[in-house]
């Protein structure tokens, strides 16, 4: 039991000492992943599990034809990345992102959301 306590304590100590460094996972998004929103959003906001390196993180939003509908350069603050959108008609939109967390791990992903009823 003492060995188990020691092992758990050591693990927790290690976790605490490295708590700001890991792959950045997408925690949630606005609009939500796979959701349908009744009115067109003005921007897409991605919330990550780690802080991001702004120079090496990017986002792209495109319509069903593959045409870009975002306004370009994203704004990044800590673990949040957002990009403005053009006026979106009803339809399906694809968000593709790549980010670099502060410890240099790269992650990427994509998801869709729908505008309209």
């Amino acid at each position: 039991m003492r060995m188990l306590n020691f092992a758990i304590s050591a693990l927790l100590a290690v976790m605490a000492s490295t708590a700001a460094e890991a792959h950045a996972f997408l925690d949630h998004a606005e609009p939500r992943v796979g959701s349908t929103v009744p009115t067109a959003p003005r921007e897409v906001i991605l919330f990550y599990s780690q802080n991001l390196e702004s120079a090496f993180s990017s986002i792209e939003v495109s319509d069903a034809n593959g045409a870009r509908v975002d306004l370009g350069k994203p704004r990044i603050n800590a673990g949040v990345m957002r990009v403005g959108l053009k006026q979106l008609p009803p339809g399906t939109y694809k968000v593709r992102w790549q980010v670099l967390s502060v410890d240099t791990h790269t992650t990427e992903g994509s998801f869709s959301f729908h505008v309209g009823k």
């Binding site: 693990l11 290690v14 976790m15 490295t18 460094e21 890991a22 792959h23 996972f25 997408l26 949630h28 998004a29 939500r32 992943v33 796979g34 959701s35 599990s49 780690q50 390196e53 120079a55 090496f56 993180s57 990017s58 792209e60 399906t92 593709r96 790549q98 980010v99 670099l100 410890d103 240099t104 791990h105 790269t106 992650t107 990427e108 992903g109 994509s110 998801f111 869709s112």
Partner: protein, 319 residues
């Protein structure tokens, strides 16, 4: 040496081969994260450590003996695409009459090369050479062989995220698989007076990623605990294929349904161990593992390749 003990030792050897002689890697392929699997290998090299992996099973004997295996392994990338794993297992077998057999299995190593990672198709391919070194364990107690076993192996992983969006929740599935040809360095065991067969060692996993479902398909706003789960079914088999004169060509193995909880720095897994036949064990066993992602815990020291700089050097990201 009793017949019961021999069967127990054979099972212990199978457990050791199945659970400890392969690398367990932190595996990203595009948007897909393939967790470290327990009974089979995943298809990536990485800097990781499993400490401990604990297995409790009952041997095929009548009445069965109870076997505990406690193992650990350490995986280290030498370069970005080449890694080495060292593994060791301590085994404890208690016979129904109370007789105890304890000791270490042979030391296991794996030398692995990442052949490819196709991000867009979530596909990874790995080749490896697994070696269990003879005379490095408790040969006196019969738990370790006096000869080595060499197993060229190939492993793959495939996520289904590249399916069209219309496949919806099916896209969160992934499969992994591996196959190896095990060659012992001795062909005959004079202590037990039996041939030592060459064996096909193979297995697969089917897994469903709740993290992938949430971040790539649909955010169901489930409680956070469930968003970290990866339900999984693993299967691991061994079939003698050559130099097995006088013995049945019986396939042994287990089916392991379970679940993996994935965090940012570690994962915890629990699986049932279901023997596929009488020769593979008695009743349902259990397998648990704590697995540490060293590349996330120590990204600037042990979590990076020895040669070749950082694991993922900063680059301008493009789609």
């Amino acid at each position: 040496m009793s017949r019961h003990l021999l069967r127990s030792l054979a099972l212990a050897n199978f457990i050791a081969l199945a659970f400890t002689s392969h690398a367990l890697a932190h595996c990203f392929v595009g948007a897909r994260f393939l967790p470290a699997t327990l009974a089979t290998d995943d298809p990536c090299v990485a800097d990781e450590m499993s400490m401990p992996t604990v297995t409790r099973v009952k041997t095929p004997d009548m009445p069965p003996a109870v076997e505990w295996d406690i193992s650990g392994d350490f995986s280290k990338r030498i370069t970005e695409n080449f890694g080495v794993t060292i593994s060791q297992t301590w085994t404890h077998i208690r016979q129904p009459d109370g007789t105890l057999t304890t000791g270490f299995q042979n030391l296991g190593t794996a030398f692995q090369f990442q052949v490819m990672k196709d991000r867009s198709h979530e596909f990874a391919l790995l080749t490896g050479l697994n070696v269990d070194w003879g005379h490095t364990g408790s040969t006196g107690s019969g738990l370790a062989d006096t000869f080595s076993r060499i197993t060229p192996t190939i492993s793959f992983g495939k996520g289904f995220g590249d399916l069209p969006d219309s496949f919806s929740w099916i896209r969160a599935f992934a499969v992994t698989g591996q196959a190896g040809y095990q060659i012992p360095t001795n062909s005959f065991d004079f202590t037990q007076n039996v041939f030592i067969p060459q064996q096909l060692v193979y297995g697969a996993s089917l897994q469903y990623s709740m993290p992938y479902l949430k971040s790539e398909v649909i955010d169901l706003q489930l409680p956070e605990f469930f968003n970290h789960l990866i339900p999984i079914v693993e299967a691991s088999f061994t079939t003698p294929v050559a130099n097995n004169f006088g013995n049945p060509y019986t396939t042994t193995g287990t089916i392991n349904p379970g679940v993996i909880w994935v965090g940012s720095y570690f994962q915890v897994a629990l699986e049932a161990v279901i023997p596929i036949n009488r020769e593979s064990g008695s009743g349902v066993g259990v397998l648990g593992q704590l697995h540490l992602y060293l590349d996330d815990m120590f990204p600037t020291t042990v979590g990076r390749p020895l040669f070749g700089g950082t694991s993922t050097p900063p680059r301008k990201l493009t789609f």
